[in-house]
Amino acid sequence: MFLNPTNSPSVELSSYRDQHFKGARVEQEKLLKQSTTLYIGNLAFFTTEEQIHELFSKCGDVKRIIMGLDKYKKTPCGFCFVEYYLRADAENAMRYINATRLDDRIIRLDWDAGFIEGRQYGRGKTGGQVRDEYRADFDTGRGGYGKLMQQKIGPTDPGFVR
């Protein structure tokens, strides 16, 4: 009846479920509800671990940060995982960091069932994230046009390097 901290909307699971998760849906959801790991999306390619650490430390001690990498180039491709020691700290990140800006971009947070080796790589055909394969907009922070478009019109500036 009254706002319960553990059930409040900001902390709820989104509708995303990892298709590569090895196990039943129910199992995945159980892990998500206990998780201290967050997926961070819509990062710029040049956003560094240091910047992420500075922001996310505001919610508690960060256990580790795993940068998402292009599968072939092994360079950051716009996402990462942030793992806290405590669930409560991760919940605070969901409440207060989700949909705020890092590197001038609105970042999106979601629960993650837990990092496993291999999950730090983009799953798009060309090595980055799937969303960068198909998007039609020009995003300076994420390599310009989407990969498919680049194939048609020619490569664009790979986002300025700092």
Binding site: L3, S8, V11, T48, Q51, H53, K58, R64
Partner: protein, 799 residues
């Protein structure tokens, strides 16, 4: 169910209206309880009591349910009275109306509220207790409780202020609790029991005059009362109540639906409150800390429009209380919180944006610490900017300017918090700001709070972006305040070839590390490094460490991992044994710190993160870090914020360690005695799992007790070191100024004494434990009064 076929068709529709109008026999299902709950929680009488009909409707519905659902209704109502304190008068009217229809229910309600009050007092739920008490007071307005019995309750509670040998904060709370009811019930008591009311006020006044307010200095955001007085909270409320009294207790802020029903309510029989006394003080009781009322605006600061009530107007108190309550209720959902704040019921009468901003900063800058995590307030302000883009950003800009130009008198901890907030806020708005406005302060003394603020903000914004960005965002005149480019500075690199001692070893090590050689191999390489201390040492004295060894390894390893935090952490983890072998003594650890500093001095964030990691790994002891911070060679860095970031994380690590062990011990003790563990921690509703753990023996408990004793010894030692070093440097400064005949209050002194205060305040819970040791060993009577004063301020916090 078989009954279905016998039911008349109309019964199938069991909506609220049908329940209310037709007064049918109530269907027995859980659904009803939930719907009742919803109705009660959501009841609104509207602004200026426009929807009183809702209240009457709800009363008649509840009346019907008092038969079967009495306990549930009772529980929901008593819950709402405390959890929705801003709707106190709505619910008290409801109870009043119910009391007229069902006297025994009224009696049960009062009894339950009193029981709850007692429980809250025993459990130290101070806010809930206060809301409970206020509700009981308001019930006098609804003729549910007799004025006499309320006064008797107040008298009993105020007995606490006459107690001896109890903490002042206990007495304070009881005085505050009673005073804070008077805006609601003052008028009624004045009309019916003026003499008793005056006696009550005299009791409080006598107490307030006796109070020591030594702690005030430590809790003020600004050290000056110019332009707005920073009053102690009880003094402020007392002044506000007195103003109210002068106005014959008329106030116009609190909505009073019960006035519309006066004739009905008057006919009810009143109840007497069962007598209760304040639960006697117990050493484990923690009372609320005193606070200073934060004032940053008065009516002259606000634009044309509704007037901001003065500092001693009771309306100011009521508005602030209400806004703080909204924050309390919604702090888990920042969007909802922002909306609720901007939907404040009386927003047309006040400059709402200014009130909201003042209340938010009151919480953010609260001493010793904010009620909630800092980033909550930061993100709340962002939401408010989004919600009201035409009013909030301007008011916030005005607030920022005021803060900046009043920095000279601001408490050091608040300074830190503003730096953190402002840099974060800028990072959400593309760092755009009217930097020109502050240009004049670039030329001030570098330790003046204004240029220091800018410098530290630039450093923090740099952590959230990158160096060039920061350089580009400020005007050229800001060049002296720009941070250095954070870069690793490795002295053993190729260009310096043969001039640097140890460079050959560095190169060998680099190759070995690149090849991921095992720890023993690295140690063997290091053993060959000559010890410069041996040259100096006389004969038999074996130096306890080899600074060259340490420097070559630490710098080479961390240079190898310089690419990112993760790279450095991996390097540290891989060569943990080597580091442990090298950093055996305190002098060796100081040497390690020196090497790290030399390598990374332009990258403050890296220094903080590396030291945190090495503390976590227990390669460094907390005491070494503390000694390093106060060392002579670090004095150029001493007033920079990152140094204090490091010291606080060091103290916190120690505190967390002690707390964790203490918790483990108490859990172990429970297991030994087969007690169920503290139930408050379980969040989910699954039945407790039977854990297949080893049995906890007495021996294990004893070992844990030893561990804690040892940890507390380390903690005490850490505080002793820190305070002793403060005393030494401050003492030296004071003596030097005295000898040279110059005033001691220079910028360095103000920062340093502020930091001393901050250590006491931020960690008072932990420092508390060692008060008597500190008093005996360090803060003795012969100490300079300026320094001793800070210690006395700290003692009076909980006195």
């Amino acid at each position: 169910m078989a009954m279905n076929s016998r039911r008349r068709p109309l019964d199938d529709d069991d909506s609220y209206e049908r329940l209310g109008k037709k007064r049918r026999k109530v269907p027995e299902n859980q659904d009803v309880e939930d719907r009742l709950g919803k109705l009660i929680v959501e009841i609104e009488v509207g602004e200026k009591n426009t929807s009183l009909g809702n209240l009457e409707g709800l009363t008649s519905v509840l009346e019907d349910y008092l038969g079967t659902y009495r306990a549930k209704v009772l529980r929901i109502l008593t819950d709402c009275a405390v959890k929705l304190p801003e709707k106190c008068t709505t619910y008290s009217t409801l109870v009043g109306l119910l009391n007229t229809k069902n006297y025994s229910f009224g009696g049960e309600f009062v009894e339950q509220m009193v029981r709850n009050l007692k429980d809250h007092l025993k459990s130290c739920n101070w806010n809930s207790a206060r809301y409970c008490l206020r509700f009981l007071a308001d019930l006098v307005n609804c003729h549910v409780i007799s004025a006499n019995s309320l006064l008797a309750l107040f008298d009993n509670l105020l007995d606490a202020v006459k107690e001896e040998e109890v903490p002042m904060v206990r007495k304070d709370w009881y005085a505050y609790a009673v005073l804070s009811c008077l805006p609601w019930v003052g008028r009624e008591l004045y009309e019916k029991k003026e003499h008793e009311l005056n006696m009550l006020l005299t009791t409080i006044e006598v107490y307030l005059n006796k109070r020591s307010k030594k702690h005030l200095a430590m809790l003020r955001v600004w050290s000056t009362d110019n332009p707005h007085p920073q009053e102690e909270y009880l003094d402020c409320l007392w002044a506000q109540i007195n103003r109210l009294r002068q106005d014959n207790w008329t106030e116009n802020h609190i909505p009073r639906p019960y006035l519309a029903y006066d004739s009905t309510l008057c006919e009810a029989l009143q109840h007497n409150i069962p007598a209760i006394i304040p639960p006697p003080h117990h050493p484990s009781y923690k009372y609320p800390m005193p606070w200073v009322v934060f004032r940053m605006f008065d009516y002259t600061d606000c634009p044309e429009g509704p007037i901001l009530p003065g500092a001693h107007a009771i309306e100011r108190y009521l508005i602030e209380e209400h806004l703080h309550q909204i924050i309390e209720l919604y702090h888990y959902e920042r969007k909802e919180c922002a909306q609720q704040l901007m939907n404040f019921p009386y927003k047309l009468n006040i400059p709402l944006e200014y009130c909201v901003i003042e209340v938010i900063f009151a919480e953010l800058l609260n001493l010793p610490s904010p009620r909630y995590i800092e980033i909550f307030y930061w993100s709340l302000l962002l939401e408010l900017c989004k919600l009201k883009p035409y009013t909030i950003p301007q008011a916030l800009a005005q607030a920022t300017e005021m803060f900046f130009f009043r920095l000279e008198n601001m408490n050091v901890a608040c300074f830190d918090r503003l730096v953190s907030w402002f840099s974060y806020h800028l990072s959400n708005f593309k760092f755009s700001f009217a930097w020109d406005d502050w240009e004049a302060s670039v030329k001030f003394h570098p330790e003046h709070p204004q240029p220091k603020f800018i410098r530290e903000v630039l450093l923090k914004t740099m952590r959230l972006s990158y160096h060039q960005r920061i350089c580009d965002m400020v005007p050229a005149s800001y060049a002296p305040l720009l941070p250095e480019k954070p870069e690793v500075q490795y002295k053993y690199c190729g260009e310096n070839s043969n001039s640097v001692e140890g460079i050959q070893f560095a190169q060998t090590l680099t190759t070995a590390i690149r090849q991921k050689s095992p720890n023993e191999q690295i140690i063997n390489i290091l053993k060959d490094i000559p010890n410069p201390l041996l040259m100096e040492a006389s004969g038999d004295i074996e130096p306890r460490f080899n600074p060259l060894q340490i420097d070559v390894f630490v710098q080479t390893l961390l240079f190898f991992g310089a690419k990112s935090f993760t790279h450095s952490f991996v390097a540290i983890n891989r060569y943990y044994e080597v580091l442990k072998w090298l950093a055996e003594s305190e002098e060796a650890q100081l040497s390690v710190l020196r090497s790290i500093f030399e390598l990374w001095k332009t990258h403050q964030q890296m220094l903080v993160v590396l030291i945190d990691k090495l503390l976590k790994n227990q390669i460094l002891d907390c005491s070494s870090v503390a000694n390093w911070i106060f060392s002579k060679e670090m004095s150029p860095e001493f007033t920079k914020l990152y140094i204090w970031e490091i010291l606080y994380l060091t103290i916190n690590k120690m505190s967390k360690h002690v707390n964790r062990l203490t918790k483990e011990l108490s859990e172990m003790r429970d297991k030994v005695m087969n007690r169920p563990p503290g139930s408050s921690d379980s969040e989910d509703e699954q039945p407790p799992q039977i854990k297949t753990e080893e049995k906890v023996t007495e021996e294990m408990v004893e070992r844990m007790e030893e561990k804690i004793e040892s940890a507390q010894g380390d903690q005490k030692n850490l505080f002793l070191i820190i305070f002793q070093r403060f005393i030494m440097i401050l003492g030296e400064h004071l003596v030097r100024c005295d000898t040279d005949g110059i005033p001691h209050e220079n910028y360095w002194y103000k920062w340093t004494i502020g930091r001393l205060q901050q250590v006491f305040l931020a960690h008072h819970d932990q420092v508390q434990k060692y008060s008597s040791t500190l008093e005996t060993l360090l803060f003795t009577q012969d100490l300079d009064p300026h320094i001793l004063d800070v210690f006395h301020q700290f003692l009076s916090l909980r006195g």
